[in-house]
């Protein structure tokens, strides 16, 4: 299980690299208009971060299949908990808030590089 604090700066960097500049990820007013207290993280930032955390610990592997379902958004300045569980051929990953709400869940398979 890994914990990651999601900062507004990290979201700005992801937005710049991905060119996903939707205001709800970057702008307090746009987020408020959509009913959030703060901008929300990109789902694909979280999906990418999950693969990075796993690969960081398994650098001889690359991901061949990767699926994720996004359940609910998370605002910046929150902790996301990444829980990985492995069986023979798949790695399951669940992203939750500190309160236990599921943000996203998925699975991936890997091969040796």
């Amino acid at each position: 299980m890994m914990r990651k604090y999601i900062t507004a700066e990290a979201i700005r960097q992801y937005a710049a690299a991905s060119q996903d500049l939707a205001a709800i990820h970057l702008d307090e007013d746009a987020a408020a208009e959509a009913g959030f207290k703060r901008p929300i993280a990109h789902g694909m930032y979280l999906m990418g971060l999950a693969q990075s955390l796993y690969i960081e610990a398994h650098q001889a592997q690359w991901i061949t299949q990767y699926d994720m379902k996004f359940h609910k958004p998370i605002e910046v300045d929150n902790v996301v908990i990444f829980d990985f569980s492995e069986d023979d051929c798949m790695v399951k990953v669940t992203l939750t808030t500190e309160a236990g709400d599921v943000i996203a869940s998925g699975a991936f398979s890997v091969k040796e590089v």
Binding site: G43, G48, Q51, S52, W62, Y66
Partner: protein, 133 residues
């Protein structure tokens, strides 16, 4: 038109920039950088997508990637992004429209990756730019 094509050159710099943004470790094969598995999602930025309105808020429902081989620096990818289905359902928040997209990328006619993206629009179907069929 429900599909668009674009050729994408994978540079080491682009892969590195994306990898840094998601804190991905550097991986190489045969001396070439490997793109993180989620990178094809940013290929969308290269496309003009006539069936989606720019700036329209959409929820990201699900995302899938399926690789035959890693994407590496130096590859030129021939990519096709297609709207493969549009389904309407009634949800707690009102009408939901699910747009399923498939992105297929090949290198020298060899399939490298297929990605499926489901985007969800909440509310009535007001977008006349969506074409079915």
């Amino acid at each position: 038109m429900n599909s668009v094509r674009h050729q994408i050159l994978m540079t080491a710099e682009w892969i590195s920039d994306y990898a840094q943004s998601i804190e991905a470790p550097v991986q190489t094969t045969n001396g070439n950088l490997i793109a993180p598995s989620t990178m094809p999602i940013i290929f969308w930025q290269a496309f003009e997508i006539p069936w989606l309105s720019k700036g329209e808020p959409l929820l990201h429902g699900t995302q899938k990637f399926s690789y035959q081989a890693p994407i590496t620096a130096g590859m030129t990818l021939d990519c096709e992004l297609a709207l493969t289905s549009k389904v309407q359902k009634d949800g707690r928040q009102g009408k939901l429209t699910f747009y399923t997209h498939t992105l297929v990328c090949k290198c020298e006619d060899e399939l490298i990756v297929t990605a499926e993206t489901v985007l969800i629009r909440v509310g009535d179907d007001h977008d006349e730019k969506i074409h079915n069929g």
